[in-house]
């Protein structure tokens, strides 16, 4: 009984974290200066705002014993979807950023380091 309540409270807390991440990501999408930093905000929105709440939903489903056996289906589907997003979303951002950097389509300023450019120059020297 206590364990079920605990699972639901932890799940709700994770969903609340997800709400905060989504809010921060949407503010960042509008306020950040260039493409790469906005991509960072989008990734905060997918990992913090989608994977974390999905884990929370899984915990809530496991705690909700009035759902019967369906709670395991719900929890399993949420966990699998969460893992898939966790694997795929960063790759999507990575590919987008690399393509934009390579094509030079997005302005890079303001910038502190550009390791990718250094790597590329080093590759050309070889």
């Amino acid at each position: 009984m206590i364990l079920n309540a605990l699972l639901i409270y932890i799940g709700e807390a994770l969903v609340a974290v997800g709400v905060f991440c989504d809010l921060a990501a949407s503010i960042g999408m509008i306020r950040f200066p260039n493409f790469y930093t906005r991509l960072h905000a989008a990734t905060v929105g997918t990992i913090g705002g989608a994977v974390v709440p999905l884990v929370g939903v899984a915990l809530m489903a496991l705690g909700a014993d009035w759902l019967g056996n369906y709670r395991f289906f719900l929890a399993g589907a949420s966990i699998v979807a969460g893992i898939l997003i966790l694997l795929l979303a960063p790759v999507g951002s990575h590919v987008l950023a690399q393509a934009a950097h390579k094509a030079g389509l997005a302005p890079r300023e303001p910038i502190a380091f550009d390791h990718l450019e250094e790597d590329r120059r080093r590759g050309e020297e070889k």
Binding site: L84, L87, L88, V91, H94, V95, Q98
Partner: protein
């Protein structure tokens, strides 16, 4: 506010109001009644109805039952038209050499690694959509569309030649596609062939036994709902659609220079 922003705002407002005005004028004609209509009632009643075995289909999913049982002939022609379109695409590209030789420029190792993982997961999801299509929303075409994502990913991440190097040449994909269509056609007439051999009566696209046509596909096996011909249709359509889309994607991803050399200059 800039002039362009004002223009966008005004055009959105005009669009919404004109859409509402056209709709309220009766642009859609007489609206259908709100309650469930007679035909829909029949479909819902007869999709799975053990009390009326001669009238009902064999799965829980109404859409699949309609698509492959109540109007199966229509869907067969749709699939045939899709097949014809792909044949036409191949005819346009005839003479173009599709080889796996030469260098491929793929994406970064991060993208490659995750793609290797996901091209195992995607067919699993697709197969579950296809093989469970008579019980839950889904079916052959949807599953085929999902499985085509694998081809898109391989073409984008590893390069087009990677598909051919893995053994999926144009003729092999076409063979797969033809096998799928043949399977659909064979499922449609399988009971008729069996009926001729046994000397009884049967219909084309027959799924369950009917009056004076005693043959039928298995509906339930060991407590598991098989869906009769729906399962077979979904499976073959899955193969046919996957192969068809993959073939078109392979043709579209060819180098324009190579294609122009053959298509324009000949």
């Amino acid at each position: 506010m800039k002039a362009s922003e004002v223009f966008v705002l005004v055009s959105i407002i005009v669009f919404i109001f004109s859409l509402a005005y056209i709709t309220s004028l009766g642009g859609l004609g007489q609206l259908p009644p709100v309650n469930v209509r007679v035909l829909a009632q029949r479909y819902l009643e007869l999709t799975w109805n053990p009390l009326k075995p001669f009238m009902s289909s064999s799965g829980y999913e109404s859409v699949t039952a309609i698509v492959w049982d109540f109007r199966g002939l229509d869907t067969f022609f749709e699939t045939a038209v899709f097949y014809g379109a792909i044949i036409a695409a191949i005819a346009i590209y005839r003479g173009v050499k599709i080889t796996g030789k030469g260098k491929t420029i793929g994406m970064s190792p991060i993208a490659r690694t995750i793609t290797r993982l996901s091209i195992v997961l995607i067919p699993t999801v697709a197969a579950s959509i296809a093989l469970h299509g008579h019980l839950t929303p889904g079916g052959g075409f949807q599953a085929g569309s999902v499985a085509t994502v694998v081809a898109v990913l391989i073409i984008m991440v590893f390069g087009r030649k990677a598909i051919i190097r893995k053994g999926l040449t144009k003729s092999r994909i076409l063979l797969l596609r033809s096998l799928g269509l043949l399977g659909i056609g064979f499922t449609a007439v399988a009971l008729l062939l069996a009926a001729i051999a046994l000397g009884v009566n049967a219909y084309i696209f027959q799924n369950q036994p009917k009056p004076f046509a005693p043959l039928g596909f298995p509906k339930i096996y060991d407590g598991m709902i098989l869906g009769g011909s729906l399962l077979l249709f979904n499976f073959f359509e899955f193969i046919a659609v996957t192969a068809g889309f993959t073939l078109v994607l392979l043709l579209l991803s060819l180098d324009e220079k190579d294609v122009r050399k053959v298509v324009v200059e000949k």
